[in-house]
Symmetry: C2
Subunit: 629 residues, 2 copies
């Protein structure tokens, strides 16, 4: 019995293109005599569609194409994810009723789910955490059960597929339905308890994050084992964004066998149609030797594959063919140049070095060497003259009828340089080349707003925005050592002290650089963001007192007391960065470019922040006062 698993690329809110992909996959599956093809969740309309669900014309478009898909089901059963609409009922916001649904097409028609009295099956569990906001748009099976005064199981039946003259019962779940550990209702458990199934499908639209595949496997393996049901997990590939934050979808579609085997069917970040020879008696795949096990990837390898994939698809979807990068000679811009060169070809990545009197010959040379190593177009534009012009203008500026006149402080001077490079030069150079320019800020800098708005904070995309500084180094090392197998990113860029080079205080030749101690602050900041129960100064100060801070944040042992011998030192540093993180940092992030997400928590839509709210809890303040007394 041949089943086709279509790990397709789904575009957000583009029924037309997605329909074409679906159609092609159906044709290929039919050619290979598959009798059933399964597509991912929301494979027709896309999933991260924002508020496009509010457009009646978009909903009608979905219905039009749903029907077109059903017409392709002659000789092959089709199971696909799309939006189910009930025009006569309302969502709780008063808009038309919409379900995140699975459709089954057979003999040219959509089949009815007789229990739900709809031509589709309904997602029961709605994730409302992380980047998901299903409840904003979709009515769910639990709410429908309440509305109809029945139980969820009363609205469910397996999908019936006639295969080799046998009636096969396919269990239906959608993405979150499998992640039920914190819900009262478990679809896999309940559905398999009430009905006998030959196998289950789980249609997903599940974004990638580093180490996600392990989590997924453990979750679905548990459901498979516990309920003694084989599961086909069908996920999409592609990218979809929730506004500022761009997620990749890694596919990793797999078959879970109750005996404990997990067979990867379609690979990692690959569009693929796999034809499975499934033995429903043995609950197993006959030709499984053709499917390679996914090797467990290293952290750096996962980062490399996912970031390159996401950038590549961004550039494709946004129709960008050329990128300009401000190459400072430092590690961030070097890694950025490597990433774009890999994706676009180095001839399309234009490097611009923009020295002032504060830039060392070391970094200037490193930038040039990078361009040579990568074979990128290169130019140098000095900024001394232009910043002097800006300084002159400010110095001679006089406001009529004013209490104050401009004062050029050190910070004003530094920011003028940064904005001259970003907002003036790079923006103009990029546009004059029909290109865009990248923002090379990393996650550490973004966290505390260590960047200048309209300066180095500007650009069309932040490819490194979800990498801590140590991730940047690790990935740079990985490229040189494992990808290029030679020194492409210059050793100087790796060895030089990280520095903005905006004043004599940043002189890298004297080993002066950023005020951030990355070996410590990377981990401190991460605990404020990525831990599921997020840490704050209160938790950190308590841990400092108890000597357990390294353990709490995951940095190297015995580091904290070395850096901060006294509580006073520790508190001063802690408050400085907390104020930056929750104050100016948020403000700058609001105006940051879109960013590539690869961790369990990237900035943007899944990190909902307030502008202008710096707060210390009373317990923190009490402990601080005690320590400083």
């Amino acid at each position: 019995m041949k089943i086709a698993i279509a790990q397709m690329r789904v575009l957000s809110a583009n029924c037309k293109e997605n329909f074409e992909t679906i159609k092609k996959n159906i044709e290929h599956a039919r050619e290979q005599n598959a009798c059933l093809i399964v597509f991912p969740e929301m494979s027709l309309p896309g999933y991260f569609n924002g508020d496009i669900w509010e457009q009646t014309s978009f909903l009608k478009d979905c219905e039009f194409y749903n029907k077109k898909i059903s017409e392709l089901s002659k000789g092959i059963d089709i199971i696909f994810g799309s939006i189910g609409i009930d025009w006569k009922k309302k969502n709780e916001d008063g808009r038309v009723r919409k379900y995140n649904a699975v459709f089954h097409a057979q003999n040219g028609k959509l089949k009815n789910n007789k229990k739900a009295k709809y031509p589709f099956w309904i997602k029961a569990l709605m994730p409302n955490y992380k980047e998901f906001d299903d409840s904003r748009h979709f009515f769910d099976l639990r709410k429908l059960a309440l509305e109809r005064d029945c139980k969820e199981i009363d609205l469910y039946e397996p999908i019936s597929v006639k295969l080799e003259n046998k009636n096969i019962k396919v269990g239906v779940t959608i993405c979150e339905d499998g992640w039920s550990q914190d819900y009262k209702f478990s679809p896999f458990y309940t559905f398999s308890h009430y009905y006998k199934h030959d196998f289950f499908v789980n249609l997903s639209c599940s974004p990638f994050e580093v180490r996600k595949q392990e989590k997924r496997q453990s979750v679905f393996y548990n459901e498979c084992k516990k309920n003694n049901i084989p599961i086909f997990y069908v996920n999409c590939v592609g990218i979809q964004n929730v506004g500022k934050t761009i997620y990749g979808f890694d596919g990793s579609s797999s078959f879970y066998n109750p005996n404990g085997e997990i067979i990867n069917l379609c690979g990692f970040f690959k569009e693929k149609l796999s034809i499975i020879d499934y033995d429903y008696e043995k609950k197993f795949i006959n030709n499984n030797d053709q499917f390679k096990r996914l090797n467990s990837l290293s952290h750096a390898e996962e980062m490399q594959i996912s970031i390159e994939y996401i950038i590549k698809k961004c550039l494709e979807e946004w129709n960008i063919k050329r990128v300009v990068i401000g190459a400072s000679g430092g590690i961030d811009s070097a890694l950025s140049a490597v990433l774009f060169s890999r994706v676009l070809g180095s001839e399309n990545v234009y490097l611009v070095n923009m020295p002032s009197k504060f830039n060392s010959i070391l970094t200037i040379n490193a930038a040039q060497k990078l361009a040579q190593n990568l074979k990128c177009p290169f130019a140098s534009i000095g900024i001394e003259e232009s910043i002097n012009q800006s300084l002159d203008q400010l110095q001679t500026l006089h406001f009529e009828a004013a209490n104050e006149q401009p004062k050029i402080t050190q910070l004003v001077f530094e920011n003028i340089q940064a904005r001259d490079r970003g907002g003036r030069i790079l923006a103009a150079v990029a546009q004059s080349l029909g290109a865009v320019f990248s923002c090379n800020a990393n996650k550490t800098e973004l966290t505390v707003g260590y960047s200048t708005l309209y300066g180095d904070q500007a650009g069309f995309l932040c490819p490194l925005a979800d990498l801590w500084k140590h991730d940047v180094y690790n990935l740079a090392y990985f490229y040189n050592t494992h990808v290029f197998k030679k020194e492409i990113i210059p050793k100087e860029s790796i060895d030089v002290v990280p520095s903005a080079e905006l004043s004599l205080e940043h002189n890298v030749m004297e080993n002066k650089g950023d005020p951030i101690i990355y070996s410590y602050h990377d981990y401190l900041f991460r605990s404020w963001i990525e831990q599921w129960e997020r840490k704050t100064p209160e938790d950190c100060l308590i841990a400092y007192v108890n000597g357990t801070l390294e353990n709490l944040i995951g940095c190297e042992k015995d580091l904290v007391r070395k850096l901060f011998p006294t509580a006073k030192d520790f508190i001063k540093d802690l408050e400085r960065w907390w104020i930056n993180f929750t104050g100016m940092g948020v403000f700058k992030r609001m105006q940051a470019p879109p960013l590539v997400a690869i961790t369990s928590r990237a900035y943007g839509f899944d990190m909902r922040e307030q502008v202008g709210r710096v707060y210390f809890s009373q317990a923190y303040l009490a402990l601080k006062n005690k320590l400083l007394a």
Copy 2:
């Protein structure tokens, strides 16, 4: 029987300050012999707190202050909104269980809700539309009923308050509980059906929007009348932001009497503690003549009060005392200057005119006149020299090893001017004055990205971002006519054709200006955004064909055929702006500054958009093809 209604200003995620405000209100109420005081929803922790709810230390902070409030209840009963935590249970995201709750403190202690077995009452209905995302953070009464296998009513009982030796039963609802028209469960109906109440309270944290008060009154009046229950509606004031979008809270706390009277208790956008002499037998307020009816405000007046209020509170909370404005002589920057002058005092609003050879003497004079009229500090900085320097640099720039060299197109030249003004001059001037600079983009421009990133799109705040161009004119007119009662905004700025003045094509002296026809596009764009079922080119083209487009979008009659005699003209214009709106416009909005929200739909968190997704439905394309065939 004296009841105190505390229309307090609530700060987001700031228990410490909110506690101080609550404490002060309790003291004043006690001084005036009130026996009960009622505070708004989430008055202790704040409501739009983003993901701060994930910080354990913040939750502990809330509990600490909840207890401190309860200790103030000697001699006065306190009803207040805060977060209810069950440390032993989990939300569906696996984090600790949190409820949006109402607490009742009496004799120094929190009272138990014996039915729910918690020391608080639980919000039943969770809004997941607009700017709300309650389900992301809070478990609700409906889910708790499912978990405990009971009905919602089994988890509810009225609050018992001993007043004048009588046991008064107070019904408890929270905000959305009153807006139940699209939910299956109606708290007011069910609670009042099962229990006899003396009156209800509805604790709200309900953001302002133009014409919101009418909606609120109709909703609560209906509940009051239908269920024959008096309702005290208690809302907060202040501002709270959901990241980029800043909402004002107008208070408008009111008493609803079943006989049909609505008594405004605390005013519009005012912090106020009102002491009511309530006759629970007659279900009425004895001294109601002291409470003025809220006059129905004009649209312009609502805009004026709300925008000034929101700006004022932003500047206070962000500690900003001085603002720089690029004054072009046009209407947007003029209105912006007026708004900031009203809030900060004109001596703190620095106007900078930045002419190039394309700026007319008309607008240059208008900018100067505005500064004189308002008595703002003023300076002029010509940009000819600096843009020539940028052009020189670009023209002489040569990339080594490159296929392309920079080309200076008209658009490149225009954007260089805009960025010279915004990202170079204004940013430096503002910082050198210890100030910030404003972004004067209006909603029409923001919609189609008619602005330059790091140029006129830059700034710390967009005060006009929720005003269509015609609203800008109306509000400017309102200031001159009704507020100042003289010409403060120069007539020239009102009369001149709106123009960017970035080329000879924008020459205002020849009446050349923006490509946007505001009398039509304002309304077309609005239909894409603000209508509850959002319109798209499909709806607009159908309406064009049917001759009903003016009606659909609300612009003046017979305008469309005059502007676009043929379908081809109409389609060309429609597609141009739709592509800008859904393409570059989104991209620019992602990097726009925080914005002041005053309509039912502002950009930002309540307008969830995709970067890089331009789409036309198949029905649109089919109709277009038919018309153009």
